[in-house]
């Protein structure tokens, strides 16, 4: 792999890893606050799985750049994070959290299915590893979406309100990253349009069957992953607080 391809791949891996990490952290905010004990446990598990996926992706990134995954997570400034605003938004109510998880799970599931055939072996192997875990997530969040969408007038309304906010934000997941064409031509990653189409084929009919209306306006707030929502900095401040307090500490 030549240098420009390597840079394109590390850029892409960092973006994917950051999304997993930030969403995992957001979901972990429900620990101790879930609506029922079972959900508290379920969401903690899902967050831990996503954290595991983030670690695998950071390790692939680190193998290319020589960085230390722990340092990337705990000592990187807000401006150099590459997460989407979709995962940065506060956890909101239960409908917001579950809908975001559903949209993300569907995106991750279709992406991993495509990445299993990546020409970059380490990525193909990591995708195969993550895919079965993702099946559990998708089952869980899609069952909740059915419950919320078809439940009561209030649960449907709350989920619809969440969808109105999250649908445009979710589009940012599929904005092609710089120099990604190097990777798509070589079959390292699928083209963003292919990923997005596969996602829409899953989520559009599903949301419709949950009595939810997909908003027509769907422009992401920004196409640039360097531009963050105001919510990322406070999240990182909390997540990095202990590590920054004592950088030499070991477990």
């Amino acid at each position: 792999m030549n240098e420009s391809h390597q840079t394109a791949l590390s850029t892409w891996l960092l973006a994917m890893a950051d999304d997993q990490l930030i969403l995992a952290h957001r979901n972990s905010e429900w620990i101790g606050h879930g609506p029922i004990l079972e959900e508290d446990i379920a969401l903690a598990n899902i967050a831990q799985d996503e954290l595991g996926h983030a670690r695998l992706l950071y390790e692939l990134y680190a193998a290319l750049t020589g960085d230390d995954p722990d340092k990337l997570v705990f000592f990187r400034e807000t401006a150099v994070y590459r997460s989407t605003q979709f995962v940065e938004y506060p956890k909101g109510d239960w409908a917001f959290t579950m809908l975001r998880q559903y949209l993300f799970d569907a995106a991750e599931m279709v992406l991993l299915t495509q990445l299993v055939d990546s020409t970059y072996q380490p990525l193909a192997q990591a995708a195969a590893k993550m895919r079965n875990e993702e099946l559990y997530h998708y089952r869980h969040s899609s069952a909740w979406l059915k419950r919320l969408g078809l439940g009561t007038a209030e649960s449907n309304q709350r989920t619809q309100t969440a969808l109105d906010t999250l649908w445009p934000l979710a589009q940012q997941l599929f904005v092609p990253l710089p120099a990604a064409e190097f990777l798509t031509t070589d079959g390292v990653i699928p083209p963003a349009t292919v990923w997005q189409e596969a996602w829409e084929q899953v989520v559009r009919p599903f949301l419709h069957n949950c009595d939810l209306a997909i908003p027509t306006a769907a422009a992401p707030p920004t196409a640039d992953r360097a531009i963050h929502s105001p919510y990322l900095a406070p999240l990182l401040a909390e997540m990095q607080e202990v590590a920054r307090f004592d950088p030499e500490a070991t477990w």
């Binding site: 079972e38 379920a42 831990q48 595991g52 670690r55 192997q125 590893k129 559990y136």
Partner: protein, 161 residues
């Protein structure tokens, strides 16, 4: 000279940190052992069960500690993701031990995880299949929570993967 069989035997004594009744070998976590007799070094290849499993570094330490007692000067533990760990690899002996530990063993799926979502799960205490899943997520990443209507006991299942 330490033979390969001794190394595997020693590894079979290294317990799973979260389920101490079974070994890392029985769980299918140890994938390969490479011996370099000249350098008195051994390399063990392991694979994680669930990718977010926090027990991985404990497994690594436990393997190193155990193999150092065999007299190796260098013990290296490598991880691999390929092929991805499958709960189908859990040995028959380990499945019996899981039951005595109160964990229902995972149903076999032959690579199609989806089929396990509809498999009846027998209670590890009374063997009844009159059971119901209460939560597909449990106290660790690899466990789901069930309830047995026959003996009215909650129990956990080692999740299929």
């Amino acid at each position: 000279m330490v033979k390969m069989a001794h190394i595997w035997q020693a590894l079979n004594e290294v317990a799973d940190p979260e389920i101490p009744v079974v070994s890392l070998v029985e769980m299918g976590i140890v994938r390969d052992v490479r011996l370099d007799e000249q350098a008195n070094a051994v390399t063990v290849v392991i694979t994680p069960t669930f990718s977010g499993c926090p027990a991985l570094h404990v497994m690594r330490q436990d393997i190193e500690t155990r193999l150092h007692t065999l007299g190796f000067s260098h013990v290296t533990v490598e991880t691999t993701l390929h092929p991805p760990w499958s709960s189908d690899w859990i040995s028959e002996e380990a499945r019996v031990k899981l039951k005595t530990f109160g964990l229902a063993p995972p149903p076999r799926h032959g690579g199609r995880l989806e089929v396990t979502f509809f498999a009846p799960t027998a209670c590890p205490y009374c063997n009844s299949t009159d059971t119901r899943v209460k939560n597909e997520f449990g106290p660790t990443l690899c466990r789901a929570i069930y309830y047995c209507h026959a003996c009215q006991q909650p129990f956990e299942q080692f999740k299929a993967l």
